[in-house]
């Protein structure tokens, strides 16, 4: 594996990790994996970047407190309130809710499964991919987009990756983070959202630098 490949693999893994954390609630297995010795080493490495360190610390600290079923359920309730029952006024995880054109009289685009969902579906199809049937969400769900970037990290060239991230992900993450900050009272999903934003931004900068 060339060094470039290894780097891409590492980047893919981070996108994949972020995707997984947005895809569903933290359960015992995820918790176990995220708090293993190897994972701690990973967190440490990730936190060594100053722009990530604060959020990584918060995430790791939160993970340490998840020692009971009740604590996991509380976190699941945070997740639910943020991502499963929201509206465009809350922190719904769908790109369309942040990129939708202002509602005008002739614009009757559906809010979910709208334009961004269609676009994303096309991207997936071109890459011979689709959303897992066990994940019955629109394709513009943040977890799908992050997983897709993970996929293209190792399957497409940097220019293509850069293009995608810039025009489909980086363009709404800031709004998303603001919403999460407004709604989330816990100390896991806000740092996770911020970490995602800063990671994507730094990755984008890096890609642009490489090109």
């Amino acid at each position: 594996m060339s060094q470039q490949q290894s780097v891409n693999q590492a980047r893919a893994s981070i996108y994949q990790l972020l995707s997984s954390l947005f895809a569903k609630e933290v359960d015992h297995q995820i918790l176990h994996e995220l708090t293993s010795a190897q994972a701690m080493a990973f967190w440490q490495q990730l936190g060594s970047e100053p722009s990530f360190s604060h959020d990584v610390e918060m995430i790791v600290a939160k993970l340490q407190t998840l020692t009971s079923d009740k604590a996991l359920l509380e976190l699941a309730a945070d997740y639910c309130g943020l991502f499963l029952v929201g509206t465009k006024h809350s922190a719904s995880p769908y790109a369309s809710l942040y990129l939708q054109k202002q509602a005008s009289s002739d614009d009757d685009q559906p809010l979910l499964f709208g334009e961004q969902h269609q676009q994303m579906s096309q991207f997936l199809k071109q890459s011979q991919l689709q959303v897992q049937s066990e994940f019955p969400e629109p394709a513009d769900h943040i977890a799908v987009m992050l997983a897709y970037v993970a996929h293209i990290c190792v399957n497409q060239d940097l220019a293509q990756q850069c293009e995608f991230v810039q025009h489909n992900l980086a363009n709404w993450l800031a709004n998303f983070v603001n919403k999460v900050a407004e709604v989330d009272q816990g100390s896991f999903y806000l740092p996770l959202a911020r970490l995602t934003q800063s990671w994507v931004e730094s990755d984008l900068q890096w890609m642009q630098g490489e090109l």
């Binding site: 590492a10 990730l46 359920l73 997983a147 630098g209």
Partner: protein, 830 residues
């Protein structure tokens, strides 16, 4: 550290972080080929209309009216917004504290607390466990699964039928009688005219148009209300309203709208309005009756031959029994209508063929039985009951009533009840001396005061001690009165289960919430044309079911499986087989009368048309021969005086129609010194009750500042410094809400309107995000039932009396809260 070094550092550590599977999968062959649900036009229907939908790239792309619907409502444009609504219930959810503590959870947290996602299996077993617990501990009187409402259309997936059949296989439960819309009317009219009337087919429009010279629209706005129907509506009534408009313009028919406000119908027809003070219609009717007698205008032969008890009503009318003669002058003082106009009205109504068309609003007030009774007395005095274009109707604003029926048999439905011979698991009918059926609008009363005995329709009802509620396709946090009182009641419930498609307020005040898919995510069958029964519609599945939602059939099939009763539940038939059977049974019932193709042909073509019906006159048979065709009253005749009601000895519903003061009444009535404004909360113009309120883009087409509109008189508004577009706080001692001002001359001073069906979105009293679950919370969107009274109309009907409601309003100057009505539960810190 530069980024490259950083990334290199990550290389070694990152592989092992998560082993879980990705949300992505390789494209499968089916999806790659674009097969599966193919794109194109499909047929379906809803309360808002029958229509066609275009599926493109697997999503609903376009909606257009059904070919035979010549007067479609623009509400069908809101349908996409229902399906792809961000407030869809996407997964089965359980309130966190309920998950942790079950029936001992902190119920005061209901309404603003936290949910977690669970699997269907988990949710259904929690549901079953709760039912087990209630049936074991309290028996059937502890469970109320009988609150049912408008559901979505479709004869197979009818949500309340599924819920009640499945829950009924588990055990017995408390049920309701009556409904919120017409509770007083459907109770009083069988005593008077021998039928509920409100849901009966009425004289056909062609006969009205041909024969009526005067039409009285009494508190009736058909042009607004005919947009929605019980089945897939095809709006045929509008063609007749168009003809009526024509005849009004030509001076051939005089239409008088007796109403405090200028209705949509009045504006459309360009007809006259007779303003009357709110809630005083009975006094107006008595004044008219008095004048008819004084001028000898009443039809004595008809009264003698077709009615009973006029002789016992007359002394009241003439003041012999209570010392008050119900003269036009007397009526004028109460009603705000001049004696002269009342006298003229008596003349107009008796001089030629007069059709009275009553709306439902005036029976949703305290003593709501009286205006319906007195109107029937007026119609009897006019003497045209049973003549085409004469008499009285209580339903021409509803579900195509008045459009001649095809006469065909309609398809049946999935059974609501257990099949003959089946027994529930908890086969216990011991309601512990309490009533197993309670008047529909008294359930909150029952929860708050179990064991209390009330009068209702000639019998005694003893409230059961309700511990658990199950709702499906039903949103009582819209249609019941007095939200703060509901909150108190809900604190006493151990478990609330709701099955719905979007996060209604009822979902938010529940413990277990199960996602049902929308009408457009399943196959079904329905009548189109409502009462006209113009044909049968194939309701073809468009998409989905989205997220983890399931059809009602599937939800309760799974639930029945959990009970070990799946085959009993489904009769061993699939969704497709059920639909085909419903169709084929209907075909058999119509054999040799109406041609119906085989099922597959029908499904492909999307509908079967039954053709036109024959005009028909209500009560004509009775008029022709009252002995052989008696009314369903105790005497078989119209009962102007009801001995049966009289012997109940109810102070609020005596033996003949009576004017009684209300507990709250504007224009100088009780309570108007403190809260001077009457709030009417009639059926909405742009929704079906609360259905469609959540459809965002469509809601934006009428919402004001994101809030439900409150319609205000210009002078009232000016006095309070309010302009159109302002956010207004409407309040009384029962609650408070925010709404968006629409200042309009259509509304008289002292009267405001907020349409019911506006979703309840409570926030803290001061407008802060927290505190929505608390008593006194501010409704951020404008649900009028935050303010209405939770009282029965009378001891007779014990029906919803939302229209007896006084309020005050002001320009809102506090912190403007975000509208919280259309999201899931709001987060609060622990």
């Amino acid at each position: 550290m530069n980024r490259r070094d950083f990334l290199k550092g990550l290389v070694g550590t990152s592989y092992v972080v998560l082993s879980g599977s990705s949300v992505l999968a390789p494209l499968n062959a089916l999806a790659a080929s674009g097969a599966g649900a193919s794109d194109g036009w499909l047929t379906t229907g809803s309360h808002f209309g029958a229509f066609k939908m275009k599926r493109k790239n697997g999503v609903i792309a376009e909606v257009k009216p059904f070919d035979s619907d010549k007067y479609p409502t623009d509400m069908i444009n809101g349908v996409k917004g229902l399906v792809y609504n961000p407030s869809r219930v996407r997964y089965p959810m359980v309130r966190l504290d309920f998950l942790l503590n079950g029936h001992k959870s902190d119920t005061t947290q209901r309404g603003d607390f936290r949910f977690v996602r669970v699997t269907w299996d988990k949710a259904l077993s929690l549901f079953k466990d709760s039912l087990d617990e209630v049936q074991t501990k309290y028996g059937p009187s502890g469970l109320h699964a009988g609150q049912t409402g408008w559901r979505a259309t479709g004869q197979l997936h009818s949500s309340t039928s599924h819920m009640q059949r499945a829950v009924g296989m588990h055990g017995n439960f408390v049920k309701k009688v009556g409904d919120y819309s017409t509770g007083a009317g459907q109770t009083i009219l069988p005593y008077i005219l021998g039928s509920t009337e409100v849901y009966a087919q009425g004289t056909s429009w062609p006969l009205i148009l041909e024969n009526s010279k005067t039409i009285i629209l009494w508190s009736n706005d058909p042009y607004k209300n005919l947009q929605v129907g019980w089945n897939a509506e095809t709006h045929e009534s509008y063609a007749y309203l168009a003809q009526l408009k024509d005849k009004v313009a030509k001076g051939e028919i005089r239409v008088i709208s007796i109403d405090p406000v200028v209705t949509k119908t009045q504006q459309y027809l360009g007809c006259e309005q007779l303003y009357v003070n709110p809630q005083t219609d009975v006094a107006l009717m008595l004044g008219i009756a008095h004048e008819m007698v004084a001028k000898n205008l009443h039809d004595k032969a008809f009264i003698d031959g077709y009615s009973l008890g006029f002789d016992r009503f007359l002394p009241y009318l003439q003041g012999e029994t209570d010392g008050i003669e119900k003269t036009p002058e007397w009526a004028s003082d109460i009603t705000g209508v001049s004696a002269e106009i009342i006298r003229d009205l008596a003349k107009v109504m008796t001089q030629d063929r007069t059709q009275m068309l009553m709306g439902w609003c005036i029976q949703r007030q305290q003593h709501g039985e009286q205006p319906y009774w007195m109107a029937a007395v007026l119609a009897t005095m006019i003497g045209q009951i049973g003549l085409p274009g004469g008499g009285i109707s209580y339903g021409h604003h509803y579900s195509s009533i008045g459009v001649p029926s095809s006469g065909a048999a309609a398809p049946g439905a999935f059974p609501r009840n257990l099949d003959e011979g089946q027994k529930p698991i908890f086969d216990n009918n011991d309601f512990k001396g309490t009533s197993s059926t309670i008047p529909v609008a008294r359930w909150i009363d029952a929860i708050l005061e179990p064991g209390k005995t009330i009068d209702a329709n000639g019998s005694k009802v003893t409230y059961p001690d309700i511990k658990m509620m199950v709702f499906s396709g039903n949103n009582p946090w819209n249609h019941h009165q007095d939200r703060n009182r509901m909150k108190q009641a809900f604190h006493k419930l151990e478990c609330v289960v709701t099955i719905d498609m979007n996060w209604t307020a009822t979902c938010r005040f529940s413990d277990i919430v199960l996602p049902a898919c929308t009408t457009f995510e399943r196959n079904d069958i329905d009548v189109y044309g409502s009462y006209a029964n113009r044909g049968i519609l194939a309701m073809q599945k468009m998409v989905g079911p989205l997220f983890e939602s399931l059809s009602d059939f599937e939800i309760f099939t799974r639930f029945a499986r959990l009970l070990g009763k799946e085959k009993e539940y489904t009769r061993g038939l699939t969704e497709r087989e059920w639909i085909a059977n419903l169709y084929n049974d209907c075909k058999a019932a119509n054999a040799e009368k109406f041609d119906m193709p085989d099922f597959d042909t029908f499904w492909k073509q999307g509908y079967v048309h039954f053709g036109e019906g024959k005009p028909w006159t209500r009560h004509a048979a009775f008029r022709e021969d009252p002995e052989i065709n008696p009314l369903g009253t105790p005497s078989g005749l119209i009962e102007i005086f009801s001995r049966k009601i009289a012997q109940y000895n109810y102070d609020d519903c005596p033996g003949h129609p009576t004017w009684m003061e209300k507990s709250e009444r504007c224009h100088g009535g009780p309570g108007s010194d403190k809260f001077p404004v009457w709030m009417q909360s009639c059926h909405p113009d742009k929704r079906l009750h609360s259905q469609m309120c959540e459809s965002e883009a469509y809601r934006e087409s009428y919402a004001v500042n994101g809030r439900e509109p409150v319609y205000l008189n210009p002078i009232d508004a000016k006095q309070r410094g309010i302009q159109s577009g302002d956010i207004v706080r409407v309040f009384n001692d029962r609650g408070q809400l925010l709404a968006g001002a629409v200042v309009s001359d259509n509304f008289p001073q002292g009267v405001i309107r907020i349409h019911e069906g506006a979703w309840y979105g409570p926030v803290g009293e001061d407008g802060s995000k927290e505190g929505g679950a608390e008593i006194g919370a501010l409704c951020s969107y404008g649900d009028p039932n935050t303010l209405t009274q939770d009282i029965g109309t009378s001891k007779l009907a014990q029906a919803c009396a939302a229209y007896t409601c006084l309020v005050e309003f002001e320009k809102y100057r506090g912190k403007v809260p975000q509208v919280s009505a259309f999201s899931g539960p709001v987060e609060i810190a622990l």
